[in-house]
């Protein structure tokens, strides 16, 4: 299932004194089976765009095509549930959405809304809890007595339990410790690779983009200013810095080596790539000496 944006504009509170335009002429495609990253400075419209992905908001003009459903300004608010089931969104700090008495009930809440039976959703809850790295002993506990990191996991399990085809992640690791961050990102990668879930990642961490994504869209002031594979996007370091966006650590380091006279051809994005290139380079330079 692809998601396609065609000339999408979005204005908050249209026709009021507080009118504010957030998106301008957005054209982009999120391909089925891709791992797409959306990056941009704070206030560039990422979160607004994200809400279009499962029709939480409708474009002010233009069209969003989600699978075979077309969302236009005139689309009425009924029968959007099938879309919401297919596109799961993990919002920023998702632990704020927990409300049930037990973890199991909270995870099963999503599936039950989409008509899954009590028994089935209970099984889903057990499965998803394991998926996010918590054991069964948590099932009957209250979500409010868990630690922040565990709450986050439960909330994410609640979205995964809907078994979405597309998973949208809005800074899923913000505020987590490095270990938790890594575990979580690896889990999403596993879902992407094994279960074939399409992932849309909104993040400020360029290392995550470099490590996981296969396509990047750069947003600025409500417009898509660039789209391409991370390999291409991260070659133009000065352009990125101009847009106040970060650069992957490995690329930054490679850039410094370039300043000292090392030449790479294309700049590496990840630590592994950097190490490989350095090894092959040192082999090459041994010849010269």
């Amino acid at each position: 299932m692809d998601i396609r944006f065609e000339k999408v504009d979005f204005t908050y509170q249209p026709n009021t004194p507080f009118e504010q335009r957030a998106l301008f002429d957005i054209n982009l495609t999120i391909k089925e089976g891709s791992y797409t990253a959306l990056v941009g400075h704070t206030g560039s419209g990422k979160s607004t765009l994200l809400q279009h992905l499962n029709a939480l908001v409708k474009p002010t003009s233009g069209m969003v095509e989600i699978g075979d459903r077309k969302i236009v300004p005139e689309t009425d608010n009924k029968n959007l549930k099938p879309i919401r089931k297919k596109v799961g969104i993990v919002f920023q700090f998702p632990e704020a959405q927990l409300f049930e008495e037990t973890v199991a009930k909270d995870i099963a809440f999503g599936p039950k809304n989409f008509g899954v039976s009590e028994e089935e959703s209970r099984k889903l809850a057990e499965k998803m809890l394991q998926q996010v790295g918590l054991d069964e002993s948590y099932l009957e506990r209250s979500p409010f007595e868990l630690s922040g990191g565990q709450m986050r996991r439960v909330a994410i399990a609640g979205v995964l339990a809907m078994e979405p085809e597309i998973l949208v992640l809005d800074e899923p690791t913000a505020g987590l410790d490095p270990q938790g961050r890594k575990e979580m990102m690896e889990m999403f990668l596993e879902l992407h690779e094994k279960a074939g879930i399409t992932i849309v990642l909104v993040t400020h961490l360029m290392d995550d983009v470099a490590n996981y994504a296969d396509y990047v869209y750069v947003l600025e002031k409500g417009q898509v200013v660039k789209g391409g594979a991370p390999k291409e996007i991260f070659q133009e370091l000065n352009w990125l810095k101009e847009k106040q966006l970060g650069v992957p650590t490995a690329t930054e380091f490679a850039e410094r080596l370039v300043a000292k006279g090392v030449s790479f051809g294309t700049l590496p994005l990840t630590a592994d790539e950097l190490a490989d290139k350095l090894v092959s380079l040192s082999g090459g330079s041994a010849h010269d000496e």
Binding site: Y12, Q13, T16, P17, F18, Q51, N54, L56, K81, R84, K85, G88, I89, F91, Q92, P94, A96, Q97, L98, F99, F109, G110, N113, F114, F144, G158, V159, M162
Partner: protein, 265 residues
């Protein structure tokens, strides 16, 4: 959804009304609501409407905002006006049907009530549009000070008021966020019958309460860490200043009152 609310919004500016002391504005607004009931004929309503319009123009805020402020209350206003028109008797009778009748007195009364509502809303909208909420709570604290004599906790009340005002937009944002998160999990807000609608609110209310509790705890800790120990012996960062323009505004209101007294029938 909640964005349509104009009342309680502040629009920055530097007009005469914006620069007025918040105490003067608050007192004047309440005084205005009091004296509007003195108006009882065409001349007095004309005078008070002209005065309100002058104040609105003085604030340099677009008239659109004021009209939007009236909009949410329009049904209540029309309902009251209709009651007045159909149930007041006296003067020439234009139309009659059972207990219902349209009479001369009824019509004039209806129009007067309409004017009264609109003018009061205009004036209170003017107050909130031109005064930052925190200044309003400062003004309330100042004006409540005499109540200290009867051991009314003035500082505590005004502290609660300013914290409450500060967190209204934050909580609204939070509500919006949680609503979106739950909608993404398949909740339909505002659909189905009454019971279903009420049930749909639970996944919104509980997280909102929980986050308010957490926020309160964090805020209290942060305040204590910064040395807050209660109202005794505190100094003020924002000091209210009474200027000539405030006296001028008060004189304006006195003149209005005098005018009303003369024109009253």
């Amino acid at each position: 959804m909640m964005n349509k609310l104009i009342l309680g919004r502040y629009i920055p500016g530097d007009s005469f009304v914006h620069k007025m002391d918040s105490r003067a504005k608050l007192v004047a607004s309440f005084y205005f609501i009091g004296i509007i009931f003195m108006a009882n004929n065409w001349q007095t309503y004309l005078l008070i409407a002209a005065f309100t319009l002058f104040a609105v123009l003085l604030s340099k805020v677009d008239l659109k905002f004021f009209i939007r402020g009236v909009r949410p209350l329009i049904w209540l206003i029309l309902f009251t006006v209709a009651l007045q028109i159909f149930f007041t008797r006296g003067g020439t009778v234009y139309w009659e049907w059972g207990v219902l009748s349209v009479t001369e007195f009824g019509l004039t009364n209806g129009i007067f009530i309409f004017c009264r509502f609109v003018l009061i809303i205009f004036m209170s909208t003017l107050l909130t549009l031109t005064t930052p909420p925190l200044e309003l709570s400062d003004a309330i604290e100042y004006l409540l000070r005499p109540l200290k004599v009867v051991h009314f906790p003035v500082h505590e009340v005004s502290l609660m008021l300013s914290i409450a005002l500060r967190f209204v937009p934050t909580l609204m944002d939070e509500t919006e966020k949680i609503m979106n998160a739950q909608r993404a999990r398949g909740v339909d807000f505002g659909e189905g019958n009454l019971v279903q609608k009420m049930k749909a609110v639970v996944p919104l209310l509980i997280p909102l309460f929980v986050s308010s509790f957490n926020r309160a705890e964090e805020l209290a800790t942060a305040m204590e860490a910064r040395g807050y120990q209660g109202g005794e012996g505190r100094t003020k960062y924002r000091v209210l200043h009474w200027h000539n323009r405030d006296t001028l505004a008060i004189i304006g209101f006195i003149l209005l009152t005098v005018g009303l007294v003369f024109l009253r029938s």
